[in-house]
Subunit: 235 residues, 2 copies
């Protein structure tokens, strides 16, 4: 029998990378939380933690949730172990701030963790600036305007499926480029649309890079391509 | 010949409605700007101004850009007049913060204004939390995960086109419901997908409302429907 009221789990979007793109709400909850959890690679530093590093306090307990570095969806144990570590803190009445790059519900790594805990603990999701808006701002092009339909397409799809989706989309953002870059370039070239695709890497960060997609030879996982024909207003 | 260096135009995303969902960058630039411009209805208060009202200073000059209250795209004069009023401030060296609900490049009203001014003045877009992330957080459902494709579809499309788009989308967000609500309900019912559609109104605001879309009889313009089959992880 617990002597405590359980803690609350906050899924906090910390934005695309620039620490100044944190929201006031994210900052308030992050600073108040006794425990901060975040995704991290198998070895090395967490990108999400890096975004808010300037606001962390040495007295906050930290939980690094380490993801194996191989392609494909991570094994279920990663989520189960993370959920157990977070639940142990919630059980003794501590609030936990679970950091998510960009927006927590837009391709967030932790939907699986929320699903495991939402029935037993109070959970609140704090939306953040996603890579979509940051990517368009970096490229200085509208994402969508007026009656346009936007398709957000992961580059991880099989080539035929990717082509079918891109052929049907007037305005598309291809996310998660990484090792799928050449496949995306090939599909867009086949559709006659490679020339209209802009590449954005590290949007909002000092190393931000914007270039024609056709010129790119290597892309990190967190990069995207904006594909749109003639922009509105003739631009 | 101008005696001043021209001012800089900031297109600032102020988020979906909760003043705490403003970013630190938006707040810094907003408070530093001698001139603040924002969209407003023909009569009455500006929603975007309302979000940041607590941070405004009486010494800041304000420009309300009034949109006519009839359906369809606003006449070009609205943008031309707004651009001229903003240019007059930039010409005398004043920075202008142009407020945009949500994210400036995601169905933003001011893409036309940026296009008119970007060649003559320095323009910077500050991304904000969009209604997509805020709507999903309110409804407590993932927006997209893993390899899913997301379609963002304006309810303003003609019925046949809307149906074609929704039939092709596993996960869709229908934005700008307003007076198009019944049409959207009819199309989803015809596709056998009305039961899986969640309605979100005033996401992140005190009057926030989440309900099955099928139960809604009237919707404001800033409302959306999340349409997704079985959510991941069986939820």
């Amino acid at each position: 029998m617990s002597r405590h009221r359980p803690g609350r789990l906050y899924g906090i979007g910390v934005g695309p990378g620039d620490p100044e793109l944190l929201t006031l709400k994210a900052l308030r909850l992050l600073r108040a939380a006794p425990v901060v959890a975040y995704p991290a690679p198998e070895f090395g530093d967490s990108f999400a933690r890096g975004i808010v590093a300037g606001w962390l306090d040495a007295r906050q307990r930290e939980i690094a949730i380490r993801f194996p570095m191989r392609p494909g969806p991570p094994p279920a144990e990663v989520y189960e172990r993370a959920a157990a570590a977070i639940a142990a803190e919630l059980d003794i009445g501590r609030d936990v701030a679970l950091l998510c790059q960009g927006d927590p519900l837009f391709y967030g790594s932790f939907v699986g963790v929320f699903a495991l805990l939402a029935d037993r603990y109070p959970v609140e999701i704090v939306p953040g600036v996603s890579s979509l808006g940051a990517g368009a701002a970096a490229a200085e092009v509208p994402l969508v305007t007026r009656d346009e339909v936007l398709a957000v397409i992961p580059a991880t799809l099989a080539e035929g499926e990717l082509q079918r989706r891109l052929a049907a989309a007037e305005v598309a953002v291809v996310v998660k480029l990484g090792r799928h870059l050449v496949k995306v370039q090939r599909v867009l070239a086949r559709l006659g649309r490679l020339a209209e695709a802009r590449y954005v890497e590290r949007a909002s960060l000092p190393g931000q890079r914007v270039a024609p997609l056709a010129e790119i030879a290597e892309a990190p996982y967190f990069s995207l391509a904006l594909v749109r024909g003639r922009a509105p207003d003739g631009r």
